[in-house]
């Protein structure tokens, strides 16, 4: 299985891309369409839809990939406005801020974090059974869209 497929399976769902349209360069994965594939030269820097990268043997997903998982039957939680803002700022999610849980509630599983509009803000790890963790730390922040601002500061892609 490809790293992005393994990653999707952690959320209880599966992604299936045409392998001929997925390219790997410098341990980064890109999904092309037939038209962009036709016009691609070898020495590209970035191409098509960025899926994620391998760093220190771990797969780091892009927000494009996370967005795709939202549409699939993935583990996901919807959080209220205040928790959404705190999550973007890098904070964890408390049970009190969770509006809805879909998919797994089990401790140790990964879950997408959505705002009340159903937009994906990132993902985290379930820290306590979501059925019984009222008031406690529920989901530990692993990656959130505030990362774009942190990358600006670090000047990295």
């Amino acid at each position: 299985m490809k790293p992005y497929e393994v990653f999707a399976s952690r959320f209880g769902c599966r992604v299936a891309f045409n392998s001929e349209l997925v390219l790997e360069k410098n341990q980064r994965y890109y999904l092309l369409n037939p038209r962009t594939k036709k016009d691609l030269l070898v020495n590209y820097y970035y191409a098509g839809l960025y899926l994620g990268k391998i760093k220190n043997s771990n797969f780091f997903p892009s927000f494009n990939l996370l967005n795709m998982l939202v549409g699939a039957a993935a583990n996901k939680i919807v959080v209220d406005m205040k928790s959404a803002w705190l999550f973007i700022c890098g904070r964890d999610v408390f049970r009190v801020g969770i509006v809805k849980v879909m998919g797994s509630k089990r401790k140790g599983d990964d879950t997408l974090v959505l705002n009340e509009f159903g937009e994906c803000l990132g993902f985290g790890k379930i820290m306590d059974d979501l059925a019984s963790s009222e008031g406690k730390l529920a989901v530990k922040n692993v990656l959130d869209i505030g990362d774009f601002l942190r990358r600006e500061t670090r000047g990295r892609f």
Binding site: T36, A47, L49, E119
Partner: protein
Amino acid sequence: MSTKSCSKNLLPFFNTSSLLKGFYYVRRNVELMSGKQFFLERYAQLGWKFQEPKPKLSIRINQTNAKAKKIPERLRSLGVELEKVPFLQLGYWVVRSKASAGATAEYLLGMYSIQEAAAQIPVTLFTALHGKMVLDASAAPGGKTVQLADLMENSGVIIALDVNKERLGVMANHLERCHISNTIVYNLDARQATKLNRTFDRILLDVPCSGNFASDSEWFSRRTLADVERNAKVQKEILAEAVKCLNPNGEIIYSTCSLEPEEDELNIDWAAKNLGLQVQKIYCLGMDGLTEVFGRKLDPQVKFSRRIWPENTQGFFVCKLKKVETQ
């Protein structure tokens, strides 16, 4: 040649007095051809009287990502008041803001981009972008590339080039944030675009330029006419290369954020006379391009370009060029 005759021949060049004279001559010339007064006199000769510009922060809605999402209303609820930019379909001024417009969830989700109002104009001047093969020749940090992809609704292909690899990292983040899927980025100088062996229906030449004082408070103390002339030369080289990979009946949008005619009308005059390009009439903010610059008469079609003196926007120049098919 003996050592003696050699040193004799070279002696005048190492004469301290002549060296100093040369240094002061060059320095004096640089002083004469730079500074606020020098540039303001040039602008006056071009028909513009200096007034302190007040460019406003502006955003552009990415309609592909923001479909059915009422961004102005959502931002208002966060304390960000917007006002529609009258000359742009998707542009808004940020009138008041309690939150940073560059740190909202809506921004981070790619629903809008922060882009100077005048800088939003060039991409909107292309006709029929959908499904086209487009070159963005000096693309980083990618604001206009994202705008192109948005107007193309991620159809067709955008080839984006930039020579500066560090800026490509910023661009890659921008493309990811806005979920762009039709763009291929190369670390390549625009003057080597033919190396790609591709031809294009549309080419955006938002060329590297000297900038202007409205977006850089130190501009007058940092820029000289020599910088302007050096940039103008590079811009001509980019134009010449772009024409080689433009399809017949293809369009080039040429833009700069420079107010210096060497980088604007004079380059377009040169392109019309030497590259077989026709200047197309465009309808957007700004005044007609100058057809007489410092006593020099230019090709009359240069007036179809648009010159935007800074006021609510930064200074800008934009022009649409077409490669007309010949029998």
